[in-house]
Symmetry: C2
C-alpha cells in the first residue's frame, strides 16, 4: 500500500442543525425574523412576518387552515358563508421546471381535495390545479377532475414564463370551457422557478416591493388574454383574477382601448373593444382591496369598472392580510354589496 497521502479538501459542506444556530449571531430585525421563519435561500419572495394568521392554527396545533372543521368554525359560520371556494396554495407548482413533477403534485392535490375536504362541509367548493407547463397533461387532468360536482374552478399561478393569452395555453382553455369551469389566476411564486422576473424591470429586493408589484402580473395576463383573442375563441370561458387588486383596472381598460383604436388591424380576430371582453369575461376578487383614505375615491373607481358586476368577495383566509367581510366595503350600497359578496359568485360558479 502507498503511504498515506496528505490531502486538502476544498469543499466540505458544514451544515446548520437549523436556522436557529444563526440566531445568536444576528441583529434585529433579522434576529426575530429568522428566529420565527428560518433562513430563506433565494427562490421565492417570502413574507418576513410569515404569511399565516397566527390565530388560524387549529386548536390541535399544526398548519393554519389545515383542519376543515376548524376552518368552518373560524370562517364559514361566523361570517355566514354559504359557500367557500377552497383555493389551497399548490398552484405555485405551475412554475416548477419539471412538468411531470407538476402533473404528479397537481393530481395528488386534486385527489386529496376531493377526498379530505370537499365532503367535509356543504359550503366547500374546490379549485383544482393543473400542470399548466404541459397543456396536454393539464387537459387530461381537467377531463379527469373537472366533472366532479364540487370542483368549480381551475386555478393557475399568476407567476409564469409566458403570458396566459399565448396559444400555448389554448388547449387548457378549450377543456375549461367544455367543462364550464372558470379559470382563476392567483399570485404565487413570482420570480421563482421558471417564471419571468417578478417585474418588467427585473428583481426587486424585498417582499414589500414584490407584493406591491403583484398586480403587474395580472395586468400582463389580462392584456395578453384579450389581445390574443381568447374570449373570441372561447366565448363562454370566464377568468377570475384572484388577489391581484382592483383599482388598476380603469387605467388598463382605457390604455388598451386607446391603443386598440390605433393598432386594431394587428389583432383582426377581435370583434369588440378590449374593455368589453374584460367586462364580459373577467371577474376580480376583492382581497386585498385598495384602501384610499377617502372611500369615495374607491367608489369612483368601482363606478369606472362596473364593480357591481365584476367583483367577487374573497377573504384570503388564513393569510396575514385577510379582509374581514363585515368590515371591508361596508359603505357600498346594499345592492352592490349583495352582488359582490354573494350573487356574482353564485352565478359564475353555478352554485
Amino acid at each position: 500500500m502507498a503511504a498515506p497521502m496528505k490531502v486538502i479538501d476544498c469543499d466540505v459542506h458544514n451544515m446548520l442543525r437549523s436556522s436557529a444556530d444563526l440566531v445568536p449571531y444576528l441583529k434585529e430585525p433579522w434576529k426575530s425574523m429568522i428566529a420565527s421563519f428560518g433562513v430563506h435561500m433565494p427562490g421565492t419572495y417570502s413574507s418576513p412576518i410569515g404569511v399565516m394568521r397566527k390565530d388560524a392554527v387549529p386548536p390541535g396545533g399544526g398548519i393554519a387552515a389545515s383542519d376543515p372543521d376548524y376552518l368552518v368554525e373560524q370562517l364559514v359560520k361566523p361570517y355566514n358563508m354559504e359557500y367557500a371556494i377552497l383555493t389551497g396554495g399548490l398552484y405555485a407548482v405551475n412554475v416548477h421546471p419539471d412538468p411531470d413533477y407538476a402533473a404528479a403534485v397537481a393530481s395528488a392535490y386534486n385527489d386529496y381535495l376531493i377526498a379530505e375536504w370537499l365532503p367535509r362541509h356543504p359550503s366547500f367548493k374546490g379549485a383544482m390545479i393543473v400542470p399548466v407547463q404541459d397543456p396536454q397533461q393539464a387537459v387530461r387532468e381537467i377531463d379527469r377532475i373537472g366533472p366532479h360536482p364540487d370542483i368549480v374552478e381551475i386555478m393557475l399561478a399568476s407567476a409564469s414564463p409566458i403570458p396566459y393569452g399565448n396559444r400555448f395555453y389554448h388547449p387548457i382553455y378549450e377543456a375549461a370551457e367544455r367543462h364550464g369551469l372558470p379559470i382563476g389566476i392567483h399570485p404565487g411564486s413570482e420570480g421563482g422557478g421558471i417564471s419571468a422576473p417578478p417585474t418588467a424591470a427585473g428583481y426587486p429586493t424585498n417582499y414589500l416591493q414584490w407584493h406591491t408589484s403583484l398586480s403587474q402580473n395580472f395586468m400582463a395576463h389580462l392584456i395578453s388574454l384579450v389581445c390574443e383573442g381568447v374570449f373570441e375563441k372561447f366565448p363562454r370561458l370566464r377568468f377570475v383574477l384572484v388577489e391581484g387588486g382592483v383599482a388598476w383596472l380603469p387605467h388598463l381598460m382605457w390604455r388598451l382601448d386607446k391603443n386598440y383604436k390605433a393598432l386594431r388591424w394587428t389583432v383582426p380576430w377581435l370583434k369588440k373593444m378590449p374593455s368589453e371582453y374584460i367586462r364580459e369575461n373577467c371577474f376580480l376578487t376583492t382581497q386585498p382591496i385598495e384602501e384610499p383614505e377617502d372611500f369615495e375615491q374607491l367608489k369612483q373607481i368601482f363606478d369606472m369598472i362596473d364593480a357591481e358586476r365584476m367583483l367577487l368577495f374573497s377573504s384570503d383566509y388564513p393569510h396575514w392580510d385577510f379582509d374581514d367581510p363585515t368590515h371591508i366595503l361596508r359603505r357600498l350600497p346594499e345592492e352592490s354589496r349583495r352582488r359582490i359578496f354573494y350573487q356574482n359568485a353564485k352565478e359564475l360558479y353555478n352554485l
Copy 2:
C-alpha cells in the same frame, strides 16, 4: 494533387437584397407592413405602423424631427412653446450589453446635442443620456455634461435588468442631485438587450400588448425607488416618469401605502408614507394620456393624485401617438392647465 473531393456544404447564408424581396410572397396585412417597415428580427418590439408621424419628415426629406428648424416651425411656434425638452431616443442604449459601447454612444449623443441642437433655438433644452449599466462611467459623464446650462435632465430607459431603486444605481443619483438635474425615465426597448422580459408574466406576442404593458415598468421602478429609500438618501432628487401613463398611479399609491403599514419595519429607512415620497419627488408626463369616454372619470383620477402638482405636459413629437396640446386636457380648469402645461415644468427644470 488529390482528385477533387465531392462536397456538401450544410450552411450557406443566401441573403435578401432587401426586405422588399419578400413582399410579393406576403399576404395582407403583413405585405403592407413589411413593404413599409422591413422585416424585424427579434430584438425589440416595433410599431407595425411605424413610430413616426409621416408629416414630421422635414421638407428636405430624411428622418422625422431630425431638422431643428423644421421642428421649431412645426411644433414650437404653432403651439406657443416657451421651452421644449429634447429627449432624443438613444437612451435605449441603456440596455446594450456592453457598457463601454453605451458610454461611447452616450457621450457622442450628448456632444452632438450640445453642438447641433441646443444652440439652434432658445426654446431648446436637452436631456442627456448616460451608460446606466456602468454607474462609475455614468457619473463621469454627468460631471462632464451636467454643468451645461441647457442640459436640464438625465434620461434613462425604462427598460432595465434591475429596478431603478437598487443601490447599484445610487452613485448616479448622487451625481444627479449634486448637479440639480432631474432624472427622466422613458420607454425604450423593453424586452430588448439586457432588459428583463417586458412583462412580469414574460414576453407578449405583439406591439399592441407590449405598448399597453409599458406602464408596468414604470410601476416597478417607482415602487423600487420609494422602497429602497432613494428619496430619503437624495431628498432633492426628482424623477420624471415620461410616457408611462398616469391613471394607474392611485392604485399604486394605495396598494403601496397599505402594504407599507404592514411591513414598514422591513424598510426602516422610510420616514413618510410611500405616497408622500411619490407626491413630493416624482412627476409624470401626460402623453399618452388615458382617455375614458367620460372625461369626468379622468378628472376624478387627477384629483386622487393631485395631478395639478404632479403632471407635466408632453407631446411625444414626432411619434405616432402625439398628443396635441390644444386638444388634450382642454376641459381641465384654467389653473390646472396652467400648472400642467407650463408652470410645473418651469419650476422643476429651473427654466
